[in-house]
């Protein structure tokens, strides 16, 4: 027995509401983030991730209040991503009660930011989020700005570089699979997980509980992230853990 593989429900938050899109468009409302976070905590979620997808900077404060309210009631690790561009943004989220921040676009724009943030606050709270799209067999490119902008960076090389720069964890999303319910891009997941010595969270495409199992057993992921299968009541986190345990994966029950 040893370290458990983690199940992380993800809440995409837009103007204080949880939403979920398919391939980053066609957004559906899924409810109040504080209530949803509490429900997942009760179901045995190992962590909760909030991705702020609010487009307007005027509404950025909303996510801070969401994190504050959740942190008063939910005593498991909380990660917040979206719009983290400066050391000051990291500090604000940590002070609101987040344990980790996920940095995506800002890391590509200026990789030294990851170094500065991890030097300042410690690697343990710096997650680098990578959105990747397949460009050729066994090749994936990093995209930013919610998947709209190609960067020319190879996803595996980028993950390695971010680990060297002090990232404590990688949140890896397949843009090809996100919202499709076809399962993780297992080849991508495995390529990144095997390339770095820091933990990797697999994300994008979970449609049933076997996909979570595959992410760990075939993708070698340290943690699996899913949104819609939990939001719309298809499965509970507890059911996900039962399925993983039945497949011989160590989980916290």
């Amino acid at each position: 027995m040893g370290l458990a593989k983690r199940i992380i429900p993800c809440l995409d938050v837009d103007n204080g509401r949880v939403v979920k899109g398919v391939k980053f468009v066609d957004i559906r409302d899924a409810g109040n983030p504080v209530e949803i976070a509490r429900r997942y905590d009760e179901q045995g979620a190992d962590e909760i991730t909030f991705l702020d997808i609010t487009a307007s900077s005027d509404n950025r404060e909303t996510i801070v209040h969401v994190v504050e309210q959740v942190a008063e009631q939910v005593f498991i690790p909380l990660t917040v991503g979206g719009g983290i561009r400066k050391v000051e943004d990291v500090r604000r989220m940590l002070n609101a009660g987040a344990d980790k921040v996920a940095i995506n676009t800002a890391a590509v724009a200026r990789p030294e930011f990851v170094k500065e943030a991890s030097d300042h606050f410690g690697s343990q709270c710096i997650v680098v989020a990578i959105d990747a799209k397949q460009t050729a067999p066994g090749k994936w490119e990093v995209f930013t700005h919610g998947g709209r902008k190609a960067t020319g960076l190879d996803a595996v090389a980028w993950a390695r570089r971010m680990a060297e720069y002090g990232a404590g964890e990688i949140l890896l999303t397949s843009m090809d699979r996100d919202g499709t319910k076809d399962g993780f891009d297992l080849a991508l997941t495995r390529a990144v997980c095997d390339a770095v010595s820091i933990p990797v969270i697999a994300s994008g495409g979970v449609g049933d509980l076997d996909h979570l199992v595959d992410g760990v057993t075939q993708g070698h992921a340290d943690a699996v992230l899913a949104a819609s299968i939990f939001h719309f009541g298809e499965y509970t986190v507890g059911q996900a853990k039962e399925r993983m345990a039945a497949a011989g994966i160590e989980v916290r029950q």
Binding site: M1, G2, F75, L94, N95, G97, G122, S123, S197, P199
Partner: protein, 215 residues
């Protein structure tokens, strides 16, 4: 009404520790403070840690704050968390070698790359991040109501190697077996984060708030 001083030395997020203490002990006075007098007057003291150990020890300074922490270590129910456990030993390998408080004999080491793999050969990642089992090596008032081998949330790259087995309150396996909780007299310290460990963690904090420091 009991009072709990949570030592604030200007590093990282200590809000979660305070919130969790308030949650389990609504009638307690929980104070996040760097004021030596407030620490001196508190009934019990929590020493949380985050970031790098060098920064943690430097931030504590050589003045009144450090003195007040040492006084608490001698006399009051004292809970160290994460770096708050590591700082109690003689020395840490982190930051090219950092002398620590020498309250407990032992040293703090980086998880050795050559040992970081499962029996199956798959690599174990560093930092050690996530929920792992805590094996209670002896009875202690802070373990009351917490099942043997319960899982707590960890995030760290360095681990404590206790030189005196009598100080070991719990061990955890990750590539090797390390000290995940230490106890001596009025001092209890944990490598994991009870404030982030849901029910088991809240129970430990509740036990701490009700503990008189005796074993």
């Amino acid at each position: 009404m009991t009072s709990v001083a949570v030592i604030d030395y200007g590093m990282g997020n200590l809000r979660s520790v305070c919130k969790a203490l308030e949650h389990v002990a609504p009638s307690a006075r929980v104070q996040l403070t760097s004021d030596p007098d407030m620490i001196r007057h508190a009934d019990r003291v929590v020493f949380p840690g985050q970031g790098a150990i060098g920064g943690c020890i430097t931030a504590l300074g050589q003045g009144g704050l450090r003195e007040a922490v040492f006084e608490a270590l001698r006399a009051k129910p004292f809970l160290g968390i994460c770096l708050g456990l590591q700082a109690l030993y003689d020395f840490s390998e982190e930051g090219g070698g950092t002398p620590c408080f020498s309250v407990l004999p032992g040293s703090v080491r980086l998880f050795p790359p050559e040992k970081m793999h499962e029996a199956s050969g798959l690599p174990l990642k560093v930092p050690h991040m996530g929920w792992n089992q805590v094996h209670q090596e002896r009875a202690h008032p802070l373990w009351r109501g917490i099942p043997q081998d319960a899982r707590f949330y960890f995030v760290h790259s360095y681990y404590a190697e206790a030189a005196d087995a009598a100080d070991i309150a719990a061990t955890t396996d990750y590539g090797l077996r390390f000290t995940s909780a230490a106890a001596r007299a009025n001092i209890f310290a944990v490598q994991f984060h009870p404030e982030k460990s849901q029910k088991a963690g809240l129970k430990l904090l509740e036990n701490f708030v009700g503990w008189n420091g005796a074993v």
